[in-house]
Subunit: 340 residues, 2 copies
DNA sequence: CTACTATGTGGGAACGATGTCATAGCGGTG
DNA sequence: CACCGCTATGACATCGTTCCCACATAGTAG
């Protein structure tokens, strides 16, 4: 039984005394390193259990100058994509014997840097993050802390990254719309500076060009970052005289905005509007018709990022690499040939 | 500029030397405690900036015997409820100057205990968790680590908790169904042992009893824990001869299962089946008709739990308290009078 | 002129765990 | 018997930070 009257937490010294050995021996018995007689080891472990001893990771990390902690940084936990990514990363961390420390920087570069500093302060073994600026990789590289960029890259070729094949998946999906007969396909996108936006735009352009259509820059439609902004943007776009017959939404949030706007305007999907989304979300299979979407396995993205990070930690001399996962297109009922 | 040729990370000793002061003075200058001449403080801070110095939190925690870390434990990050809760907790932590450490125990009591041990090892200031057993509060109380149970309680009256008024919200919502004329209302529930399930069952029973109806225990329908199990259970229930005219799903996962089963069976909501859910989820406002549901502000739940924890940390002598948040009913279109 | 306060600085002992090194017993080998 | 290798244990320095104290100086009140 733990001694509840004891105010301070027991240290390894108390465990050693209770077992009648030295601190060194107790340490070896608990960690399983070096020589310890079987009988002694048992006595020490029993003493530790009785006292309710829990190792002080701060002291251990200090002495060992390393920890079994991994920092994970995401932009918005309430977005299922990031939540799934974090969940996959957590799974992989646990499986490898690491503890994950998660921070949500709400997409702010300032918070991102602050989080990176917190990770370094805690002397994490490495960091996985969905960056919102080049600051993350810069700072961590300077601090000699291994980092893996996931989902998007700000330090291509400099640090490891795990991303999906945005360009290819977007191209194929756009071709699907073109094959149905659509000629006015709007690309609904929040930004085109990050690798995600840039590559999705490129895939869209590839398909348009291959179809021999001239790219109408008015159809590359900038939206805001959240559902409401996207909904308003979609409302404007869909109310216009020369409205598109199809919308390709560059992520699940924008797709939600577009969906809501279409519903509000009384447009029927897919009769009046075909809609596809990059990034699958739970609601897309719940609504009628279901949304055709590009499913990135966000959990796998997180898990692969952790795996890549651990390889980097094991061997710092490896050349930087970018792991590219493919994305699958899930056909549902939200696309059909255009009316006119 | 940071000295990139330096292999080891700079310590406060190097900062002190660069600024021409002692470690003590450097420490005071950086932390802002005690007397330091303004000019000296600036010099030290500049030196720290130039060297890229980041405090070693492991050493600081060791010396101070406390940290600015808070452990948060949730059951399933891929469930929007837990993700939102974690996000709210993260927000509150940051606002209060704490760093959040998140672990997902995937609903397993073993993992839960392992996570609690990791938190204690890191000497977190306190823990907030959605418990899956009494083990969490037991262990942490024994370890003298403040803990707040959130969403459900296994240590009622022993440790602090933040929950929603499950009984009242369920009662009111059930009354709404009764008022529409429903008499055969199934309670779709995964468990009735935890406080959440227990109280939701109680609220349901309250309303049934108040309406002078005898509770039909066959209508309290046990489901599994995930969407697929719930869908199968719903399929069975809705295929039966004497099927209910309304379903009250005790959480968002079960509601999803019920919704999918109804759609699969070709049942129209609300004409053939009224459906309400405890716990709002994004898809419930996307589908047609929208689902009438009880919205718990999961983010607020997380934030309140952190606030409660910090009060507990500030004053350990406070009597244990349970904060009860009310839940709001969001009326959408998924209920109507029964056909027959 | 003494005593006292306020301001400023540095020396050094912790905090708890680990791991190197020294030491020692023992059995086997040349 | 000298030597080695193996098992087993403990003493002690160390990791980076903080903070208690001692000490120093200057200004001020009694």
């Amino acid at each position: 039984m733990a001694d509840l009257s004891e105010l301070r937490r027991p240290t390894i010294k108390e465990v050693a005394e209770a077992a009648g050995v030295s601190r060194s021996t107790a340490s070896r018995a608990l960690a399983g390193n070096g020589y310890v007689a079987g009988q002694v080891r048992e006595r020490v472990r029993e003493a530790a259990r009785d006292l309710g001893y829990v190792v002080d990771a701060t002291a251990r990390s200090l002495k060992q100058q390393s920890s079994r902690l991994i920092g994970v940084l995401v932009s918005d936990l309430t977005n299922a994509f990031y939540a799934d990514l974090a969940s996959g990363a957590a799974r992989e961390c646990r499986a490898r014997g690491y503890t994950m420390m998660l921070i949500d920087d709400s997409g702010s570069p300032d918070d991102e840097l602050e989080a990176a500093e917190a990770f370094v302060a805690l002397r994490v073994a490495g960091v996985v993050g969905t960056p919102v600026s080049a600051g993350l990789a810069d700072f961590l590289a300077r601090q000699r802390t291994p980092v893996v960029e996931v989902d998007r890259q700000f330090a291509e070729g400099v640090v490891d990254a795990v991303v999906v094949d945005n360009r290819e998946a977007t191209r194929v999906t756009t071709e699907h719309l073109l094959a149905l007969g659509h000629r006015r396909i709007a690309l609904f996108i929040d930004e085109t500076e990050w690798t995600t936006g840039r590559d999705r735009l490129a895939g869209y352009s590839d398909a348009i060009a291959a179809a021999g259509i001239e790219l109408d820059s008015a159809l590359v439609f900038p939206t805001g970052w959240d559902v409401d902004a996207a909904r308003e943007a979609a409302h404007t776009l869909l109310s216009s005289a020369n409205r598109p017959t199809a919308i390709f939404a560059a992520n699940n949030v924008l797709a939600e905005g577009a969906w809501r706007a279409a519903a509000h305007l009384g447009l029927q999907v897919p009769r009046d509007l075909s809609l596809v989304s990059f990034d699958d979300a739970p609601w897309m299979s719940m609504v009628t018709p279901g949304l055709t979407s590009i499913s990135q396995d966000a959990g796998e993205l997180g898990a692969q990022a952790i795996a890549t990070l651990l390889e980097r930690i094991a061997d710092a001399s490896l050349p930087p690499r970018t792991v590219i996962l493919s994305a699958a297109i899930t056909m549902r009922g939200s696309t059909s040939a255009p009316l006119n």
